[in-house]
């Protein structure tokens, strides 16, 4: 279906919000929303109109367990563990990422800040702030062993969420998942989140970035098969620096 006619868009937006647009047509319209601000505006209009009808819906009390379950999922406990002497430490040594490599990462990140600040504003949290300067944040640029940029990691200094954005093609692992780790100068590495293979993902942190990352200078991504790995596995996929943007 062509989506050019305003009447067609109006009809689709109303049917989408009402719920009568179903199946593949619903999914296609959701993709269209992501691409077009005018369509998002139409949907917002219909959400406002139809949302008014909810005024008469009788309130209902869910079980007390519901909030406990939601809270448990939105306040994950910090995962920390003793570092292992496995391969991921070696990744930080000169072979894969020498000081020159680290410096190159910093320079690359700096160039990106200057030439393409929009990339860093892609985080929803950062985008909320419209000042002339970028907000105080922790950012990281991770590359593969060849130095190709793969991931941008950003988190507001006092925020508790972290956005992991894919900036270079990533081949999804045949098994397991890619996990982002923070590696403090001293102490155990800890998990920051699961890495998407495309688009971006937001991880909820157990504490503010300031408390978690102030002493973290390195970030690594490893391939993990364990659901809750205690320490970075041997297969390091990407690595980079964690920098303070202030």
């Amino acid at each position: 279906m062509r989506y050019t006619g305003p009447e067609v868009l109006e009809h689709l937006a109303s049917a989408y919000v009402l719920g009568t647009l179903t199946g593949g047509a619903r999914r296609r319209f959701e993709r269209l929303q992501r691409d077009r601000a005018d369509v998002r505006g139409l949907v917002a209009q219909w959400e406002t109109r139809l949302g008014q009808l909810a005024v008469s819906v009788p309130v209902q009390q869910p079980s007390e367990q519901l909030w406990k379950a939601i809270s448990a999922r939105t306040r994950p406990a910090a995962r920390t563990a003793e570092p292992s002497a496995s391969g991921w430490l070696g990744w930080l040594k000169p072979a894969g990422f020498s000081l020159g490599g680290l410096a190159a990462g910093v320079i690359a990140a700096s160039v990106l800040f200057v030439t393409a600040p929009g990339i860093f504003v892609s985080s929803d949290q950062i985008a909320m702030r419209s000042g002339e300067r970028l907000p105080q944040s922790y950012v990281g640029l991770l590359t593969d062993a060849q130095g190709n940029g793969k991931l941008l990691v950003s988190s507001l200094r006092h925020g508790k969420t972290m956005t992991i954005k894919v900036i270079g093609p990533i081949t999804p692992p045949a098994s397991g998942r890619l996990v982002l780790w923070a590696v403090p100068a001293t102490g155990a590495a800890f998990v920051l989140g699961t890495v998407p293979t495309s688009g971006s993902a937001v991880s909820v942190l157990p504490d503010t970035s300031e408390k978690l990352l102030s002493k973290v200078s390195k970030l690594v991504v490893t391939l993990e098969t364990d659901a809750s790995p205690a320490a970075p596995g041997a297969t390091v996929v990407f690595s980079g620096n964690c920098a303070k943007l202030w």
Partner: protein, 204 residues
Amino acid sequence: MKPDAALDTRSLETLIAAAAQGDHACFARVYERTHTHLFGVAVRILGQGQAAEDVLQEAYVSIWKSAGSYRSEVGGQTLQAMTWLIAIVRNKALDAYRARARRKENALPDDGDLHADDVQSTGNPAPSALQLLEQATEALHIEGCMNTLDGSYRQSLALAYYQGLSHSEVAAQMGAPLGSVKAWIRRGLEKLKGCLAAQGVVAS
């Protein structure tokens, strides 16, 4: 609820903005203020039971994760926080309802009304979809405007909105041709748009 929760005068928009910054206490306030209403929305579509709670759980986790994406203005349209929350819950409830309908369709091809068993399981007759529409239009002062529509138009719109029924499900429930139901709902939506515009709720 914490003792001072009732004294918290911050707007829902402010609390969501704080939640977007990782303030879990503010997220808890959002839940306290909205969960009974949003659960009511989910129950209307899914009926009482675990399915509605599961949807609400997924919805709030999604709200926590995407709080930073809430905008009070979208494409020039003001979007109230409660409207945003209702849309999230309705979309998840509709997805769950359609998925359940597909499962039942596969398991019990002759199963008739997919929704009636769940609604009846409450043991407490809930107001009908049409009654809810009438109450809402009265509260919005558009009952006179909406009542110029034929009853079948309003009935079909009410079934689609409050119970999340698809066109074909509305047609089956009303015993009406599918084409007629599609036209009734479309006309009902156009009428609603006009009636609300006359009240200053979103210009036509």
